[in-house]
């Protein structure tokens, strides 16, 4: 990383902080602070919705996923456009016309206070913990790649975002998201363009895609019906639909974005904007990973992508074992490269290319790497090793020209800051509207705006503390990462119950939610069903149990008949 890269990153951080503070001026009350005064245009909200969903680790992780596993991860987003249409028809007008600040506020009006409290609490617990991990995961990768300490990386990433959210609230979040999403799109195009331009002379883009196809990296549509198989077409369409309905319909970090629209049309259009652009964007991100995969056919990749762990393997593996593995890996790489070149030459001659040598060499590389991972995990203090998230940052730092490296690191920072800022604003909103205002508000003497800012600062501090301590959490990190998937489907089920079952009442919603949570926990713990199905299972369980309880339980005296 050269001085030009640091300059690009420095200018970016100063510019985004200044812009965030400038764009957030003029908050007079909590409607301004939490909902940007309900005056935002659809295109700004649409970019903000898109930006909030992208975290740094999904950006670097998705490219890494394409490198190792190909493009089939794309199916996760197949349900998104359908979810957006369903939300535009159902929940968006309901939330917007109710004049609520949080999605959970609506549940008190439809059911009862305890259902609102429980759903908001589940959101605060899962999102509150995961926001720290959102910050920790990329900081860990960048600290290894850039040679910074983790704490410095966390503070640089979080400092600017926390400052502008405390000052400007949701207005700052949305306008900085617009700028940062533009930077992210620019970065994606730069990455794709650079990866194509770095192909060897005479090696065309179609040759690169043919190579990726031979390796199975372009396979997207897997029509298997297995529930435990990841990323099949059906899990993407059905499971992905429920995942996206849960995330965009029930997660306050997204609901708050589209409640900031100047009218219902703006809110709807912001979601439809995402329906159009999300799949193409993820396709480009995954294509970048595939092109990086092809790039490393002609430039030697390291045996392991995490340089710290590779050094540990070299230092502590049994005598000569690491060297032998690296030599074996190097020989297989040379053989794979020669085979790739000869396949391209055969294609250019119009002859059929025999992939056998290529696949054998690629298999040998994979087997050698797997042996290195096993050796590493067997060393004293060795845990489970996964370096998928290190692939793209390694490429950016070691292979991109100076200036572009700084730009792409700025993109990774932007992705981290957009997710963090949106989530902080949502956490502060849910804490204030669903808890502080109901249980403390009337006794307090501080102004609502000051409380809102203090809550934002508190959540920002909490996120930093979790991020700084996350290195000591061990496997708890995986638990935190899956918390959202465990809860979201059941929360969606409560909203579906409210919409679909006229007879549904508070007791049904509350106990149905508990039943849904217990069912998803059981499925996650005792079965191998892939997580994309959990939301569908949780939502279905809540609707079924909630309906039965509502129908069987006596109607409160004086309550109007259903409908």
């Amino acid at each position: 990383v050269g001085s030009l890269d640091w300059a690009v990153l420095g200018v970016y951080l100063v510019a985004i902080l200044s812009f965030g503070l400038l764009s957030g001026r003029g908050n007079r009350g909590i409607t301004d602070f939490f909902l940007a005064g309900r005056r935002m245009p659809w295109w700004a909200i649409g970019l903000s919705v898109m930006a909030t969903q992208i975290s740094a680790i999904t950006f670097v992780g998705t490219t890494g996923q394409a490198y190792t596993d190909g493009m089939r991860f794309l199916v996760v987003y197949f349900g998104l456009p359908f979810a957006m249409v369903i939300l535009c028809v159902t929940l968006v007008p309901l939330f917007y016309r109710s004049g609520v600040f949080t999605a959970y506020e609506y549940l008190e009006r439809r059911f009862d206070p305890r259902t609102r409290t429980l759903t908001s609490l589940l959101f605060l617990a899962s999102r509150g913990l995961s926001v720290g991990i959102t910050l920790y995961a990329p900081s860990l990768v960048l600290s290894v790649i850039l040679g910074w300490s983790e704490s410095r990386t966390v503070l640089f990433m979080a400092g600017a975002a926390i400052a502008y959210v405390i000052y400007g609230g949701n207005r700052s979040v949305i306008w900085t998201d617009v700028v940062q999403m533009t930077v992210i799109w620019l970065g994606i195009f730069v990455c794709v363009g650079t990866a194509v331009s770095q192909l060897p002379a005479g090696f065309r883009l179609t040759d690169a895609l043919a190579l990726a196809q031979t390796s199975g990296k372009l396979r997207i549509m897997d029509t298997s019906w297995s529930l435990s198989k990841p990323y099949t077409l059906w899990s993407g369409l059905l499971g992905g639909l429920f995942l996206m309905l849960s995330y965009f319909g029930c997660d306050q970090s997204q609901v708050q974005r589209y409640l900031s629209g100047s009218d219902l049309t703006q809110s709807r259009l912001s979601l439809l904007f995402n329906a159009f652009f999300k799949i193409p964007m993820q396709f480009l991100v995954l294509l970048t990973g595939v092109l990086v995969f092809v790039f490393y056919h002609f430039h030697a990749p390291p045996l392991l992508w995490n340089p710290v762990e590779l050094a540990r393997l070299e230092a502590h593996a049994p005598s000569g074992a690491a060297k032998e593995l690296e030599d074996r890996f190097g020989r297989a790489f040379a053989e794979r490269r020669a085979a790739a070149e000869s396949m391209a030459a055969a294609r250019h001659r119009g002859a059929s290319a025999d992939p056998e040598t290529y696949l054998r060499a690629a298999g040998e590389m994979g087997a050698t790497r797997a042996e290195a991972v096993r050796t590493l995990e067997g060393l004293e203090g060795g845990g489970r090793y996964n370096d998928t998230n290190y692939i793209f940052p390694s490429y950016v730092v070691n292979e991109l020209p100076h200036g572009l490296t700084g730009l792409v690191i700025a993109v990774i920072f932007a992705a981290a800051m957009t997710a963090l800022s949106g989530e902080l604003s949502a956490l502060a909103t849910a804490s204030m509207v669903d808890f502080y205002s109901r249980f403390v508000g009337r006794k307090g003497s501080l102004s609502e705006l000051l409380i809102a800012r203090l809550l934002t600062a508190g959540w920002g501090l909490f996120a930093c503390l979790v991020a700084l301590r996350a290195g000591h959490l061990g496997s708890a990190i995986e638990v935190v990462n899956t918390l959202g998937s465990l809860f979201y489907g059941s929360i969606l089920g409560v909203f579906l119950l409210a919409l679909l079952v006229r007879e549904a009442r508070g007791a049904g919603a509350f106990y149905g939610l508990l039943a849904g949570l217990a069912t998803v926990l059981g499925v996650a713990r005792f079965t191998s069903i892939h997580f994309l199905w959990w939301n569908l299972i949780g939502a279905s369980c809540v609707v079924a149990v909630g309906s039965v309880i509502s129908i069987l339980s006596p109607r409160p005296e004086g309550a109007p008949p259903p409908g």
């Binding site: 249409v85 004049g99 600040f101 997207i220 549509m221």
Partner: protein
């Protein structure tokens, strides 16, 4: 803080195609086209 009273929202206008139903149909049609293109890309013999 008390729940917000219903505000005098602007009428929900349809920006193009005449009805929201047509807009949603267009979104779904484009999505299906994109998925078809991706299936073609995935299966294309490069």
């Amino acid at each position: 803080m008390t729940p917000s009273p219903p505000e005098p929202f602007l009428p929900d206008h349809v920006p193009l195609f005449g009805t929201w139903g047509r807009i949603y149909t267009a979104v779904i049609a484009v999505t299906l086209l994109v998925m078809g293109a991706l299936a073609l890309f995935s299966a294309w013999n490069f």
